[in-house]
């Protein structure tokens, strides 16, 4: 029964909570978005937890559920979607790359925010770069460079082929390169 607490789920959430929130944070770009995404994911996992735990790889299942929830989050009404989600964000700044197609000069990718001295992109730049990507491409980038998954693992998590992951990855990097401040490339 879904009313009774699945055995071991509380402990699992306690152990993985911060990691899930971190992944969700880079996917959604906001604390509220991360909390909503993780909560929605774990609510879906709750009734299936016993079988998930028995199968032996709950991390993979939860990661897949998180991805599915993120990718399928629809704009049913203004209350359901985290307010800082992608469509509400400004477009990337024009003129950062040779083939920039931005139609606005008011974007928030700031060259001054880049941290070229340490070789780490400033978190503001990273957040804005991710915002420039469609959700699937953003998910591929996060799974590849944050979660350190292989292309095969990403394909499994996203429920698509390795070829699709490769093409999404290439498109994402092309976009990121175009929008990265020159001094940070």
């Amino acid at each position: 029964m879904a009313d009774s607490e699945p055995r071991g789920f509380r402990e699992y959430v306690a152990a993985r909570r911060q990691g899930l929130l971190a992944t969700a944070y880079v996917l959604t770009g906001s604390q509220h978005g991360a909390e909503d995404l993780v909560q929605a994911t774990l609510v879906k996992v709750w009734p299936r937890w016993n079988r998930v735990a028995e199968a032996g790889d709950p991390d993979a299942y939860v990661r897949k559920a998180l991805l599915n929830t993120f990718l399928s989050w629809r704009r049913r009404d203004g209350r359901e979607i985290p307010s800082e989600d992608i469509a509400s964000l400004p477009p990337p700044r024009a003129g950062l790359g040779p083939d920039s197609d931005s139609d606005s000069g008011s974007g928030s990718v700031s060259g001054a925010a880049g941290n070229g001295m340490t070789g780490v992109l400033d978190r503001i730049v990273v957040r804005d770069l991710l915002r420039a990507l469609p959700r699937r491409q953003r998910a591929v980038v996060v799974l590849r460079y944050f979660a350190d998954l292989t292309e095969a693992q990403i394909a499994e998590a996203m429920g698509c082929s390795v070829g699709t992951v490769k093409s999404q990855h290439a498109k994402a990097l092309t976009t990121l390169r175009r929008h990265t401040p020159a001094e940070d490339r």
């Binding site: 909570r17 980038v141 944050f146 290439a170």
Partner: protein
Amino acid sequence: MPQHQEFDTRPLADGLHDLAGQAADVPGLFDAVAADARRRSARVRASGAVLAVGGVLGIAAGVAAWPSGSGAHVAALQSSVTSVGTFHCPADPPGDSSLSSPGAGKPLAVGSPVAATLCVYGFNDTGTTVRTDRITGSALRALVHDLAHGKSSTSAACTLEKRNPMHRLILQYPDGSTQDLTIDMSGCGTVGSGTRSVLLPTDLRQLIRS
């Protein structure tokens, strides 16, 4: 691919980890998940019962389309703010005796509620109506923050306009206890516990009017 071979991804990877470090922990996450999961379970059971009863009625009355409409309605309610939860609103709105003085008293929303139920009352020709909204997730956290840091109604210039009925906001805590707050839409609009009241948060006002 030639384009991304030119792009050094190490700063991106480091930047992603740096960004992820901004994610704050949410110690009450499991309680919120548990409350939400149980509510969904109850809703599914309730919709199943509605469908079963609806099916019987539909067959009897020859109205076969009614149950599917109800099911679609249930499916549309899965959000941070959802209608029809397991917590039932009292049938009658709060009375004037539940109104509180501005400012003074204990802060509203002490601790970390796992859910809130908004009971919006109205009147029609046959009596009192009540609409139930369930608030969880980030919407709840934002609400709790607004209640804890709300301005006293004495800080605003308000009209003396009187509006009835009043509404309820019921905060539910992990231990099963509840805190009943009264929402008075008169003047500037306030929400209070009986010993303290603050101006009505904008999001709550919009939810009441939705």
